[in-house]
């Protein structure tokens, strides 16, 4: 199981498509930086099929005023949770 990390918004960049294409069936995706916009209810549809494997970084949501706006299916983690995710995954792959 790998951890993929995405820092761009699906509303602005097509790179999320590359991340999705490269993800194995057990892999997880963590949204950071502008990527956390993907946790908004209107944008989370781009990540259909990742139920239970989609995470977003709390600090980046909070800085943007998005913390209370996330779709419930997205698991919000803080930076310690980010470290947890990297421990649990065999390796990480970043998409930017």
């Amino acid at each position: 199981m790998l951890l993929h990390i995405l820092n761009r918004s699906p509303a602005a960049s097509r790179v999320y498509q590359q991340a999705l294409a490269a993800m194995g069936p057990e892999d997880r995706l963590l949204l950071i930086e502008d990527g956390v916009q993907g946790a908004l209810p209107q944008l989370v549809r781009y990540f259909d099929g990742l139920q239970g494997r989609l995470f977003a970084l709390r600090e980046d949501l909070a800085a943007r005023g998005l913390e209370g706006r996330c779709e419930a299916s997205v698991q919000v983690v803080d930076v310690d949770g980010f470290v947890d995710l990297t421990e649990e995954a065999e390796r990480t792959v970043s998409w930017y």
């Binding site: 502008d34 908004l40 943007r64 005023g65 998005l66």
Partner: protein
Amino acid sequence: MTEPTPSDLLVILRHGPHGTNWLREGLDAALVAAAFGRRVSLLFMGEGVTALLRGQQAGPLGQKGTSATLEMLEMYDIETLLVEEAALERFGLTEADLMLPVRRLSAEAISRQPGAHRLVLTF
């Protein structure tokens, strides 16, 4: 719909806060122009509409962000805040989610903006 008097400068802001420095450096250009007595309009497009969200905070390392700068716009007489309506919809936002009053622009109205200003800067 009556158009306000054309401004000298249209600054197009297409990036959200924190992720990059584009928003800050675009706002800096707008503030400087206004301080020098130019009439400035801001147009928030795409991801740029998230710059206006209520409830933004400093970054986890203490990065200031840009919302304090936005709150100073009125002091600089920058009152024309144009927002791409389609972008608000894409992000599921309404005017109540925004920290400042804005004028929503249809696609057709946006296409008239660059021609109505003497100078257009995109950030």
